[in-house]
């Protein structure tokens, strides 16, 4: 089964504590919702193979703790990530306000500049919404991210979020191929006298 996997992609989920990162991941990988999920300690890790546009991709997903104190460790997991899912809770404005901090962190620690970011507004099943969908959209546009609203509880948007992200990564040249031959610019011009020898070559009179 693994043979036809096109590539392994490293994906990172970040965001304030309690916004539902682990719940989203659990929904995506196991299609369940577990209200008994404990607050993440350090980082957690899950794997899932998905197929996008007929391409199979194995996702190694790192779920980080939003807890302030654990954050000193998480930047190290940003290394080599091809995609990042940044989550906020639509029923808690403070988690939306903190997004800027997260982006800063991303910028500081990401090792590659062509990483694909996705913004997810979670918990849309809840009544007491504090962040409007348009605000999320605006924020995403401003920072050139993908955007979707979702609910880990009702399953809304979850599958879609991961698929979109993977699709975008696969479309980004050089991001998923670790050995990207011929991607480099060709700078060596055909030098004079090439074409070899006295005959057949392109040359000047002298």
């Amino acid at each position: 089964m693994d043979e036809d996997v096109l590539t392994t992609l490293k994906i990172l989920i970040i965001g304030e504590s309690g916004v539902g990162k682990s719940s989203l991941l659990l929904r995506f990988t196991d299609d369940t919702f577990d209200p008994e999920l404990a607050a993440t300690i350090g980082v957690d890790f899950k794997v899932k193979t998905i197929s996008v546009d007929g391409n199979k991709a194995k996702l190694a997903i790192w779920d980080t703790a939003g807890q302030e104190r654990f954050r000193t460790l998480t930047p190290s997991y940003y290394r080599g990530a091809q995609g990042v899912i940044l989550v906020y809770d639509v029923t808690r404005r403070d988690t939306f306000v903190k997004l800027d901090n997260w982006l800063n962190e991303l910028e500081t620690y990401c090792t590659r500049n062509d990483i694909v970011n996705m913004l997810v507004g979670n918990k849309i099943d809840k009544e007491n919404r504090e962040v409007d969908r348009n605000e999320g959209l605006k924020f995403a546009r401003k920072h050139s991210m993908l955007f979707i609203e979702a609910s880990a509880k009702t399953c809304d948007g979850v599958q879609c979020a991961f698929e979109e992200l993977v699709e975008k990564i696969i479309q980004t040249p050089g991001l998923w191929e670790s050995e990207n031959q011929n991607k480099g610019v060709k700078l060596t011009h055909r030098e004079e006298g090439q074409g070899g020898g006295a005959c057949g070559g392109y040359c000047s009179v002298l």
């Binding site: 304030e16 504590s17 309690g18 990988t29 209200p35 008994e36 999920l37 404990a38 607050a39 993440t40 300690i41 350090g42 980082v43 957690d44 890790f45 899950k46 794997v47 190694a60 790192w62 807890q67 302030e68 104190r69 654990f70 954050r71 000193t72 460790l73 930047p75 190290s76 997991y77 290394r79 808690r92 620690y109 090792t111 590659r112 500049n113 050089g174 670790s178 990207n180 991607k183 480099g184 610019v185 700078l187 060596t188 004079e192 070899g196 020898g197 006295a198 005959c199 057949g200 070559g201 392109y202 040359c203 000047s204 009179v205 002298l206």
Partner: protein, 982 residues
């Protein structure tokens, strides 16, 4: 009857190939190829635009055919053109002569700067060449040549192909071709004469005209006029006063450190030889008619100064030796060396060092011994020398690959703090050096994964590069590295921070070596804090230089402060599966039984608030706003906590691998959380110590405020009260948080087991450094060297302002950042980057050379100066540049002067004999005082349209090209004749 004859004629038409000769097979193969390439029939393209041979794209298609077992290659060369719509035109074109015949007369592309010789000679836009496939094969005998030519002729006739078909005869270097082009009722024969020695009558126009006319053999009177195009090319090699200014740096002068324009930390730049070797001036008379000018063996009207067209090209030295490129290339070569440092230096240095000088290396025994007493009063200026002396003790001074002055200079450059009297404390080391620019350039290290340009790592890379090039090569590199490693150990053992490294945990954006050094600095910092803490009383131990992540971790946590963490050796907390613990870790810890008794007994799992509250609070950092403890209303204190362990990327990699290996099962996830909970547990213990009698609720309000949910409820008396409780996920029985909370004992951070064992980590780093071979080192540092080289090229370019180079540099940067971000970039890719950098260096050197030669700086008039600069930059980018105003323009007069000066010098310098030998007497007479040397190349194109072979035949294009150079003389004629009416 008709029905009967059908089968008969079919039978009759069967061709029996079983008896076909090799010759027939060869012809049919040629035909096959011509058919495959669809070269059949006449397809008239657009008339050739001016200069299209240079500006357009040429392509070629090849195949292989053989005559018996002799292999030929057959190649179609053609100028890429939009295909004209053939539809409907064929009928009309029936009578027209083939495209190629018409092209013989076209004057728009005479003397192309760069082209296939057949294009130059015949002005063709497409043709097919059959040549021996192997480079040293040749068709020599006349009979074979004739056989080939007749094959061509038959193939063209059979297929109706109108593209000229050539065969290459004689040795390849002679570039001799014969060929043929056929059209309906017309044929052009391409013939060639190639001579080493020139008959005198061919050296001038009148003689050549005679040949042309006799070849045409036209008897019409008067003869239609012959149109003439002439180009003389003059070569300038002697640039006179324009010495190439770049001298290879003086190696001996370098000992002083900053002499000869070279300092450690600065890369050299420029070409060692003039990257522009020759200037070729082509003077052209594009359109003359017979009779207007005279050019014979006694007189010539063709004065180059008067030529209506001038164009120049420069000849660039092939791969000029360029300093920067050489530097980087040589450094890169180290990457392929296999030897270890010890092998290079001829013995096991590190071991011997250790035996003789006790305080220097005990890499592993250190782990089991108490830490050495730090030498606080050591003046730092001794520091560097201490390490050096140790080496010298081992080895005679003479033996050292690096001479002492050089070594001293480098070490002072790398460790400037050694020169100052006072030891540096912590942060000042980096703050002193040039302030980090927020510029794009400064941040290049981020893209290249190198190191900041003011960092120790970067400087080390440059020094090693310099040493490798000038001071002992690989041996010197090994020596300096060994010195460096000794210095690192010395600093670790004596609590001296390493300068030139940003404080805080390793910067993962930098190269691994840089991270390792930062890691070592973290260890030194902590050890220093601990040692100082032990020395002084806890109360006045306030100097905490560790800034670490403090800024990042948000104020409600407070700065992670170590200040009293280690003032005494704490006892070990109950081991609770923590990530970073291990047995060896406790070797330095003194067990403090007093403390144990004080807290241990009461801090059992069941220790409720009542008992706990009676404890003396310890390790408080500061009050947490207005929060109070839930059970007694006492202020809630944020505790002093342990700093999480700094990590280098390889450690992180290891860790995440271990974590990932645990799999995705529930147990795996649980174990993973446990492994990472050391920090949580430690924080809980600190919190408990600072807030005796607290609950998990209290802790959560500090640590994870969102998991404490407060609600307004109305109590029995009808008042609004704020009622709080843990979030659902925190309330789940025996979740890891609860579990950890129950395990945690009230122990202040300073008495907890260390989360980060600086001693062990430091030894790991030092060992890592010691075992790096020069090749490893070079690989670690190559990104820094490339980074530096690109900065250098950028800096030099900014002085010249060459827009094409700017673009190339941008491309190199983006290319390099892609290549260097992968863990083990391929050598091929690295080589390519270095090659690109060298190319840019050569381009800049060429630009400088040309600017000096044309004196762009000396030009006073702004407008002229701009024109001249444009002209010079065109010379760099285009194969040939037109001189506006020819000999009378500004650039033209400069070129003229260059030639005049060279001529004067030549007239004075060489002895008579030399001159006699080189130049025929009459030419010498003519040129001795002339402004220009004899033309190095004389090209002539003669064209006309005359009936051939008989006066009543069709008038067809005739052309003859001749070129005379020092080495040879060539006539290439294309003579067309009417094949139907003669």
């Amino acid at each position: 009857m008709a029905a009967d004859s059908e089968p008969e004629s079919e039978v009759f038409e069967i061709t029996d190939f079983t008896t076909a000769s090799e010759w027939e097979r060869f012809i049919s193969k040629i035909e096959e190829v011509l058919n495959d390439w669809k070269l059949i029939g006449n397809s008239l393209g657009k008339p050739l635009e001016k200069g299209i041979f240079t500006s357009g794209t040429w392509e070629e298609k090849s195949d292989e055919i053989s005559f018996a077992d002799f292999k030929f290659s057959i190649t179609h060369h053609y100028l890429v053109q939009e295909s004209p719509d053939k539809e409907g035109k064929d009928e009309v074109l029936e009578d027209l002569i083939p495209q190629s015949m018409q092209d013989l007369l076209c004057m728009n592309n005479d003397f192309p700067p760069r082209a296939h010789c057949l294009v130059r000679w015949y002005g063709l836009r497409e043709f097919v060449v059959i040549a021996p496939a192997a480079n040293n094969d040749a068709v020599l005998s006349e009979s074979k040549c004739n056989l080939l030519l007749s094959s061509v002729s038959v193939a063209l006739g059979n297929t109706g192909c109108q593209v000229p078909l050539f065969v290459q005869i004689h040795h390849k270097w002679r570039r001799t071709y014969v060929g043929e082009c056929q059209g309906p009722g017309v044929r052009t024969d391409f013939e060639m004469v190639h001579l080493r020695k020139v008959p005198n009558q061919y050296t001038h126009l009148s003689g050549l005209l005679d040949i042309f006319k006799s070849k045409i053999g036209c008897t019409l009177t008067p003869l239609p006029p012959v149109s003439i195009a002439i180009r003389f090319t003059y070569v300038l090699q002697d640039w006179q006063q324009y010495f190439w200014p770049q001298q290879p740096p003086d190696i001996d002068a370098l000992v002083g450190g900053e002499v000869g324009g070279l300092e450690f930390g600065k890369l050299p730049f420029g070409a060692c030889e003039d990257p522009i070797s020759e200037l070729h001036l082509a003077t052209t008379w594009p359109h003359l008619t017979e009779g207007i000018i005279v050019d014979n063996d006694v007189y010539s009207d063709l004065d180059p100064i008067q030529a209506p067209h001038w164009s120049v090209r420069v000849r660039k030295a092939d791969n000029p030796q360029c300093l920067l490129g050489d530097f980087v290339t040589e450094f890169f070569k180290i990457c392929r060396r296999k030897e270890s440092t010890d092998e290079i230096l001829g013995r096991s240095t590190f071991e011997e060092e250790g035996r003789e000088v006790a305080d220097i290396t005990h890499a592993l025994s250190k782990l089991t011994e108490p830490a050495p007493v730090p030498i606080h009063k050591l003046s730092v200026s001794n520091m560097v020398h201490t390490a050096k002396k140790k080496i010298r003790k081992q080895r005679g001074v003479e033996e050292s690959p690096l001479n002492n002055d050089v070594l001293n200079t480098i070490l002072l450059f790398l460790f400037p703090d050694a020169a100052s009297e006072k030891p540096l404390d912590g942060t000042s080391s980096t703050d002193n050096s040039n302030p980090p620019l927020e510029s794009e350039e400064y941040n290049l290290y981020n893209q290249f994964k190198s190191a900041p340009s003011d960092s120790l790592t970067y400087k080390l890379a440059l020094c090693l590069c310099m040493i490798n090039f000038y001071h002992g090569g690989l041996k010197g590199v090994a020596h300096l590295w060994q010195e460096f490693v000794l210095e690192m150990r010395f600093r670790w053992e004596n609590n001296f921070l390493i300068p030139g490294l940003a404080s805080g945990p390793p910067d993962l954006r930098c190269c691994l070596l840089h991270q390792k050094l930062q890691m070592l600095n973290c260890c030194i910092e902590r050890k220093k804090a601990r040692d100082e803490g032990r020395k002084t009383s806890p109360s006045d131990n306030v100097t905490n230089t560790y800034s670490g992540d403090a800024g990042k971790s948000g104020d409600h946590l407070g700065p992670d402060n170590l200040k009293d963490m280690d003032k005494e050796k704490g006892e070990v907390g109950k081991s609770w599966d923590s990530w970073s613990d291990s047995e060896e870790e406790f070797f330095e810890c003194l067990s403090d039984t007093e403390e144990l008794k004080g807290n241990g007994q009461e801090s059992g799992k069941k220790g409720g608030p009542k008992e706990m509250a009676s404890l003396k609070p310890e390790g408080r950092l500061h009050q947490h706003g207005k929060l109070t403890l839930l059970h007694n209303g006492e202020p809630l204190y944020i505790p002093v906590t342990q700093e999480p362990a700094p990590m280098t990327e390889d450690l992180l990699e290891e860790q995440s691998e271990v974590l990932a290996k645990l799999g995705t099962s529930a147990e795996g996830a649980h174990l993973r959380a446990r492994m990472q909970s050391a920090c949580l547990l430690s924080d809980m213990e600190s919190f408990k110590a600072a807030n005796p009698g607290c609950f998990l609720e209290d802790f959560v309000r500090w640590y994870s405020p969102r998991d404490y949910i407060e609600e307004e409820v109305i109590d029995e008396k009808g008042n609004m009260v704020l009622k709080g409780e843990l979030s659902a996920r925190m309330k789940i029985p025996s979740n890891m948080w609860v579990e950890a909370w129950e395990t945690a004992k009230p122990i202040p951070a300073r008495r907890q087991r260390r989360l980060f064992d600086d001693t062990r980590e430091a030894e790991k780093v030092l060992h890592y450094l010691a075992v790096q071979k020069p090749a490893d080192l070079a690989r670690h540092l190559l990104p820094c060297v490339i980074h530096a080289a690109i900065l250098k090229v950028k800096e030099e370019e900014s002085l010249e302002n060459i827009s094409s180079v700017k673009k190339i540099i941008k491309q190199i940067i983006s290319h390099s950042s892609k290549v260097l971000h992968f863990p083990n970039p391929e050598d091929k890719k690295l080589e390519e980057i270095i090659h690109q950098i060298t190319n840019v260096e050569a381009i800049i050197a060429r630009a400088r050379s040309l600017k000096a030669k044309f004196g762009t700086e000396k030009c006073e008039q702004e407008e002229e100066k701009e024109d001249l600069e444009r002209f010079v930059s065109c010379l760099l980018e285009q194969p040939e540049v037109l001189v506006v105003g020819a000999g009378r323009g500004h650039a033209g007069s400069i070129i003229h002067k260059l030639f005049v000066n060279a001529q004067r010098a030549a007239a004075m310098a060489p002895p008579e004999e030399d001159l006699k030998r080189m130049v025929p007497p009459e030419e010498r007479r003519q040129n001795l005082a002339a402004d220009f040397p004899p033309a190095a190349g004389r090209e002539l194109i003669l064209r006309t349209t005359v009936p051939r072979p008989a006066p009543y035949s069709r008038a067809l294009p005739q052309r003859m090209y001749s070129v005379l150079t020092k080495e040879d003389f060539r006539l290439a004629g294309a003579f067309s004749s009417d094949t139907s009416f003669f």
